[in-house]
Subunit: 67 residues, 6 copies
């Protein structure tokens, strides 16, 4: 199975904060902190927990460049 999304960053889950609809998932990728705002349904569906090895996925059209 392959996904068209071009950016795949291997990461480790460091922190999960659940609101009523959205959750914040903080990850570590080679020393850089990543933050994903996903639904709490997704957190439960993936059974996400601190220490999990995951992949952060970002579509190329969603990435900007700062110089």
């Amino acid at each position: 199975m392959k996904i068209s999304g071009r950016n795949k960053l291997e990461a480790t889950v460091k922190e999960i904060v659940k609101g009523e609809v959205m959750a914040k998932v903080v990850m570590d990728h080679k020393g850089t902190e990543l933050v994903a705002a996903i639904t709490i349904d997704s957190v439960e569906d993936l059974n996400l927990a601190i220490g999990d090895k995951v992949t952060a996925l970002v579509k190329a059209t969603e990435m900007m460049v700062i110089k």
Copy 2:
């Protein structure tokens, strides 16, 4: 100046492909390839070139998690 976008990845520009409207900017971030699809206007406005040190920016709501 600070930006609300939570994900900031330091990267080096490796390749730029320009279409008529959109451009593909391939970057290297600590050995991981990143791909941003931005307008060619942005490439010109930032004067992007191979070897440039840049920051890839992604809003937290645009990042998914795969497990």
Copy 3:
């Protein structure tokens, strides 16, 4: 492997138009036409072709509602 993105629509590829950077992938989902704008790199990486059975993926934060 599970993806946090909540919307997964089974579809069949009907048409692929490649530009220099972006490609248009037209799909059929139960009689409804879907259109994804992805990079041509993704089209090649997935080896997408007319008739392929695929899944269209959309993050919940990217879906709007019209009433």
Copy 4:
């Protein structure tokens, strides 16, 4: 009135969960579950309720393909 967003899925609202800022709107589209994360302001502005006939809207650049 026409909208540039290419993906329009007719759906029926099945569930609405309101947080303090964001709301989850679960819809049924021909037997497939759709989930939109929109602001609670939008839910109120559209006066969304269970059973409403709505259209889920997704921009082509926000749709990925899995194969």
Copy 5:
């Protein structure tokens, strides 16, 4: 008909550049330039032309803040 997307900016089309898949639509909103990257299919479907009075639409989850 109401759309959940919260940001609606009245604008006038100033320039349209068509690639093979994507188009750039430059608009003027009260003296501020807006740029939308949409599919050429959308440009044709809306029959967009220079001088058209349009509304630029942005979902709240797609807007960042710089300070």
Copy 6:
């Protein structure tokens, strides 16, 4: 420092509502109301407050057109 995101709207912060994960930031741009849904972490990192002069940032690929 330049950002590839094409749409930059000068605005004044009018209201901030914080949930547990996401925050709503309402802004005024030349008489038009703007609404951004960002993480509460961003609100705190930028130290956002009512009356702040800010810039709303939107990537061109995230802007739709209604006609």
